[in-house]
């Protein structure tokens, strides 16, 4: 865009004239190099081909029709009902004027014609087994699909990865990846990297053997599968593996840091977000909590649960790993998003990833080596004092370590300072927009029992609001200074993703059913709309066939936080839904279930 504007009047009267605009642009460009972080981004064509928008996972839309001044006029353009009433967590995809939506179980894929808004082009039903609903820890959700070379790829709850022709809706291939009788399920949104569809299982609450796999996009054949506990041969840890910190180095740590054969049922699933750096050819993702929740049953560091991995996309070979929460005893999964940024830290340009972890700290990690640059808390944290960036050690607070005892006032609670709902990053403001939780919990360990296909927990939990009384909110965070810039408090945990646009507007939804637009600079509320049910999905921004900018969001409360509504749970038992019901006993007053797509645009 800048190049086009620069191509004016370079020559006048035979002499080289440097137009003011060129000079201005040059100056801006110079400062941009220092002040504004650069990101790896494909050119923005107004489509949305993967849940995170781009492999760097910025969820930034360069469309600028909707701005801070005109967003107050945003109107509902059209809606579409999925006909279901479970938690809607997916990000819609928009490719070639078609919108693709994946629903919660039964995981129907809808292709909607954007030229005829709301009309269904075709529907694909994978018919996942109904019994698989019994292995979903946190509602029967699905976080979306990915589009690549004419095919849509996504996962079904009963452990199939499917490829569907994006034009015709016919199934191209379907590969069985796991077994519900081992407690496995699949809910994550895949990515395509290195010519492979990358998928992982869920089931850290069921004692699964967690893994991540790469399948051929054309055939669905599994090229590689990396397990996250067990010997190096299973973990695809080989000569390329060079972890930055000493405690992550050694042979077969996935066995040595476990008692007996507990690693086989140790968890470490990969149900969250994956980012990809094509230049380094590395995928970045985190693994789940260790099984069971009662950590006294599984002494040792429990590698490689709650670990951030960098792997080669084509082969799955591990290049580096950093265990965020060794011997995790608070259900602090490491699966949250890794936003790939090129920032200038302490005067040096660094290739980093920004990872807001469940443990409440915003990690800035050098994505070439795995070195932690900073890990400042973005919510109230009392389970750890600090992270020593020299040794990589998390200085955990002894009095908050759980096990066969009762510990109260654990902050953040198991859903963490933030759970899976993804942040976004604006290269214009240089800020990360993070939906966060403000929850504390009390936990009491009990004897866990492993029976395959059933939960493997051993903990009673009750959660409640953290300091201040609000259970969540949205924070704008400056990754360079590692400080928040502004914060908007919400009554309930902020359980929807965010999207930020070039118009400097941040969109997100709340669990009590408000879809909101904030000013990306200062957090001022610019617009809001009451949708039919609480929002736990991921908003997107796309360019419609008419050239207008649209914002789309699925609304249907559920997931772990909304289980009291989507599951019809009984609030008299505060330990229900692993303790979330205690914190959300008032949610049914604010929202009922739903399953509707809302699309907004300027009139």
């Amino acid at each position: 865009m800048m190049a086009e504007r620069l191509g004016t009047k370079l020559h006048q009267n035979g002499a080289m004239v440097i137009p003011r605009s060129l000079a201005a642009a040059a100056v801006l460009f110079y400062f941009a190099g220092i002040l504004f972080p650069q990101i790896q981004n494909e050119a923005d064509d107004g489509q949305w081909t993967m849940a995170a928008k781009n492999p760097a996972s910025t969820r930034y839309s360069a469309l600028s029709q909707i701005t801070t001044s005109n967003v107050k006029n945003l109107k509902l353009a059209w809606t579409f009902s999925t006909g279901l009433n479970k938690g809607e967590e997916a990000a819609p995809l928009v490719v070639n004027n078609t919108m693709y939506i994946v629903t919660p179980w039964p995981n129907i894929l809808y292709a909607l014609d954007l030229t005829n808004p709301g009309a269904t082009k075709w529907t694909y039903s994978p018919h996942p087994s109904a019994s698989s609903q019994g292995t979903a820890c946190c509602d029967v959700v699905n976080r979306g699909a990915v589009y690549y070379k004419g095919k849509i790829f996504y996962n079904t709850l009963d452990n199939y990865t499917v490829a569907v022709d994006a034009t015709t809706g016919k199934q191209v291939w379907k590969t069985l990846m796991g077994d519900i009788n081992k407690g496995e399920s699949m809910t994550m949104a895949p990515i395509v990297a290195g010519g492979k569809v990358i998928v992982g299982n869920s089931g850290g609450e069921f004692g699964v053997h967690g893994w991540l796999a790469g399948l051929e996009t054309e055939t669905g054949i599994v090229t590689w599968r990396a397990y996250h506990t067990g010997p190096d041969s299973q973990a695809l840890i080989g000569p390329e593996f060079k972890p930055f910190y000493a405690q992550d180095r050694g042979k077969d740590l996935g066995v040595k840091t476990w008692q007996g054969d507990q690693w086989k049922i140790g968890g470490g699933s990969a149900w969250g977000w994956i980012s990809y750096d094509p230049a380094l050819d590395l995928i970045y993702y985190g693994t789940s909590n260790a099984s069971p929740w009662n950590a006294d049953m599984r002494p040792g560091d429990n590698k490689w649960t709650s670990t951030l991995f960098a792997r080669k996309a084509e082969t799955g070979q591990a290049v580096w790993a950093y265990q965020m929460n060794p011997h995790d005893n608070h259900d602090y999964d490491a699966v949250n998003e890794n936003i790939l940024l090129d920032l200038t830290i302490h005067g040096q340009p660094r290739k980093v990833l920004a990872h807001p972890d469940r443990n409440g700290r915003m990690y800035l990690i050098d994505r070439t080596t795995g070195e932690v640059l900073s890990a400042e808390p973005f919510t109230f944290v009392n389970t750890s004092e600090s992270v020593d960036v020299k040794t990589g050690k998390l200085n955990a607070v002894d009095s908050k370590k759980t096990g066969f005892k009762t510990v109260r006032d654990i902050c953040p609670a198991p859903p963490g300072g933030k759970d899976w709902p993804p942040s976004s990053f604006s290269p214009r403001t240089g800020l990360l927009y993070i939906p966060y939780n403000n929850l504390c919990a009390e936990m009491s360990g009990t004897q866990a029992n492993y029976i395959s296909g059933t939960p493997y927990l051993g903990t009673d939990v009750r959660m409640y609001a953290g300091p201040g009384g609000n259970r969540g909110g949205l924070t704008a965070w400056d990754p360079v200074t590692a400080k928040p810039v502004w914060k908007v408090k919400e009554m309930f945990p902020a359980w929807s993703g965010t999207v930020v646009t070039a118009g400097d507007v941040v969109f997100y939804g709340t669990m009590d059913g408000w879809f909101k637009a904030l000013d990306a600079h200062n957090g001022n509320l610019l617009w809001k709309f009451k949708v039919g049910s609480g929002v736990i999905g991921q908003p997107i921004s796309y360019k419609g066939p008419d050239g207008k900018q649209y914002i789309a969001i699925l609304a249907g409360v559920g997931g772990w936080s909304g289980a009291i509504v989507s599951g019809g749970l009984n609030a008299a038992d505060g330990t229900a839904a692993l303790g979330f019901v205690n914190a959300m006993a008032d949610l049914p007053k604010y929202t009922t279930t739903g399953g509707m797509l809302y699309v907004f645009s300027l009139p």
């Binding site: 009750r462 599951g567 914190a583």
Partner: protein, 162 residues
């Protein structure tokens, strides 16, 4: 009269005879629609009904077999709540027995073939006791799980059916 009731409540039948694996469910009715008119129920009698020892064993098994992993302490989670007014498949002892043995379509596992029958009746009676359908004198007075902390945000309502 009272004495015999107390005898039944306190009886400990430790060796149920015969010891059967729970394989088939019963033919318990789950619908009020009965063509030709309502008929007599087909349900077998719950041998553990009203028995304090069975209810306490049921509580132990409810945790040991991970029922609490999905149903928590009656409030639900991965699975639906077990303290409620409206039951999809009925809450007669025979219906609950069926549910546990056969499993249910939307994710309830099938325990038939693994568990001996007498243990399933114990769990059934415990679930009924959570819903106050068992004599109060036979029901445990408090849960063994973590006690409510006064300063949690949302006051927990009196345990009741919802």
């Amino acid at each position: 009269m009272l004495l015999t009731a107390a005898c039944q409540r306190e009886k400990r039948d430790l060796r149920p005879a015969p010891t059967r694996l729970a394989v088939l469910g019963t033919a318990a009715r789950e619908s009020l629609l009965q063509p030709g008119g309502a008929q007599a129920p087909l349900e077998p009698v719950n041998p553990a009904e009203g028995n304090a020892y069975s209810i306490s064993e049921g509580q132990r098994l409810f945790n040991a077999y991970n029922c609490s992993g999905c149903h928590s302490h009656g409030g639900g989670g991965i699975g639906p709540p077990l303290i409620k007014d409206v039951w999809t498949y009925g809450n007669d002892p025979a219906n609950l027995f069926d549910t546990i043995v056969k499993g249910r379509p939307n994710g309830m596992p099938s325990w038939g073939g693994r568990l001996p029958e007498y243990q399933i009746w114990q769990i059934v009676t415990y679930i009924r006791s959570l819903n106050k359908l068992e004599p109060k004198s036979a029901t445990p007075t408090r849960s063994d799980s973590i006690e409510q902390n006064p300063h949690t945000l949302t006051p927990v309502p009196e345990p009741k059916l919802q």
